[in-house]
Subunit: 395 residues, 2 copies
Amino acid sequence: MLNVNPERFLADLHRLRDFGAAGVGKGVVRPAFRAPDIAAREWLAERMQAAGLVPRFDPVGNLFGLAAGPSLLIGSHSDSQPEGGWLDGALGVIAGLEIARAAQEAGGPAISVVSFQDEEGRFGVTTGSAIWGGALALEVADQQADGQGITFASARAAMAHLAGDFVDPGQFTGFLEMHIEQGPWLFEAQEAVGVVSDIVGIRDMRMTFEGEQNHADTTPMHRRRDAFQALGRFNAMINDRFRNVVTPQTVWTIGHVRLHPDAHSIVPGLAEFSMQWRDGDRDRLRRMEEIIHSTAAQVAKEMEMTVTFGPMLGLEPVAMDARLQAALRESAEAEVPGRWRSMQSGALHDATNVARLMPAAMLFVPSINGISHAFGEDTDEADLRVLAGAAMRAA
Amino acid sequence: MLNVNPERFLADLHRLRDFGAAGVGKGVVRPAFRAPDIAAREWLAERMQAAGLVPRFDPVGNLFGLAAGPSLLIGSHSDSQPEGGWLDGALGVIAGLEIARAAQEAGGPAISVVSFQDEEGRFGVTTGSAIWGGALALEVADQQADGQGITFASARAAMAHLAGDFVDPGQFTGFLEMHIEQGPWLFEAQEAVGVVSDIVGIRDMRMTFEGEQNHADTTPMHRRRDAFQALGRFNAMINDRFRNVVTPQTVWTIGHVRLHPDAHSIVPGLAEFSMQWRDGDRDRLRRMEEIIHSTAAQVAKEMEMTVTFGPMLGLEPVAMDARLQAALRESAEAEVPGRWRSMQSGALHDATNVARLMPAAMLFVPSINGISHAFGEDTDEADLRVLAGAAMRAA
């Protein structure tokens, strides 16, 4: 068994939190490529070197700490949301660092560490690992801009003086990522860890109902073709129809709505909205899509409107590697017997992209109160021992 | 019977349309105090003078053409929406001008004419007549700004060189306004005119459901407090509950919706929306308000949210003068027997404000295809004869 050091692990975790510490609860403000993120990565590179690893920045800000020869890669991301929890991905990076350090001290096995860049999507979605994994072309990423119009190309130029080549994934035998769950399941069940079976797939698109804009004072109800009313009817109908198809893990969301002209006294002629749904099963995603299309068509027909669909973003569910899952399960049963579960990930993670390159698996730790990406995350170090045990079994 | 001249009437109507002619169908672009509006009013003042009336601009841009001694006032407004129909209020102004002209030629009765300013609400709601009628203080109006931040005070300064004092309403025996219906009732029934019985009252407020903002990827459906879903449920419930209370003339509208943070992947924690309802009966307006409050409270309780209500705009229904209504009804039956009706006005008009000063009544003419305030309005001149006949009966 590796002799991981919880005090050293926690000291590093607290030191990392200093970069971008928000002064509000336990939050950090460390978006990708902002000064606190770059400073945190420079400090991480020093810690990697001190742990006997060779630090390497790639051209897109991903930071690796490389062990010699073939190695198991452990890590996550150290960038945060504009207002992020202090643990989030940072926990997985520092856990990787501590396990690699303990492994160096023990004379093996060979463990490398990684902190991917822009997992939080200032410029895209899991940008750094998506480029490394081949899901996103560098030329395409370079064109992507953040909310202020700053491109990925100009943002990464701020780290050009640190950058080497892309790291050859062939040197890694597999990837383990530990991450805050971000959902409530583990916390509600008072369980210590979750072994991720698969990462759910996503479907996301914009839809638009178009009826007729008219004055709200003089247009009788029976003459209206009110696009907001179409949205309301559509929403109620899919909520009802989904019940026969979904599981307790399935989610769907209308998070964006824009009416036109969006005025008190005008019957809205247009309602644009987002429709997003997530599930681990490709067939269920497809059945939900059919319900969305047929319901929207029915509402449009009944209310004499048109409905249009924007391009659909489709990310397929990703299964975690069977052998690495087994290593995590065995370690969990040894360290926290009866206090773990096998579970889906509802969120995307860097492991989604890394799974294209090598066997990959994930370990979830509870998110206190189930609040994801918000100030207030916390955990303890049993999870560190579970991850270390899995690394020994897998390496 | 007055000898109104339809050719002269139509020639003036077409000439007025030239000011701000949009070059698109029959629309005009003549918002209050913009150059085309001021030019149109200067031309109208000349036409009033030529008709034997004394033109007078008041300090807020209302233009009167005054007959000597006590007189009946006829008119409407000549400003338009940013994209308005060419007839809208212009029809009522030119009709008043033609009837006053014919009356001057006939040696009586004494008819004055008015074109109120900013009926379309660039700065407020029926601004010019509201100030004259005492519903809106000049000092308050002066602070009101249009969509570009231009205040009423600075806008009316553009007409200061034309302005005299406010006109004494004591010289008028009553007010008749002819206006495009803006609703579909007359056009659908193929009727020639409508005699307005009363102008409906309005209730208007903003409401906000507040639940909990959370990530859409990891928050299970049973844990969500989704403010958009609260809005959806509220909307469906009031649509259902109103059915026991409303008449075919009652209208209600959710025309504005703002979600926060309004992102595809985030469960909206907040939904702000407008709730507006109109009816001619004060008691029905109150019963609808009770349904809105009790339904919102129920939804908030069931979904563990809060609901808040912004300040409520309340305009009471306004009854038209009985004697002037009778004059309009008798004239309609004489000119277009069987092809007129008594009806409510769902929209506010200048007559709402003038009714505070003197007996007032309105005549509606059909809006082709029921499209209000849009390019494409049209009518014929039977309505001119109905209005002239009513003026003779009332004067």
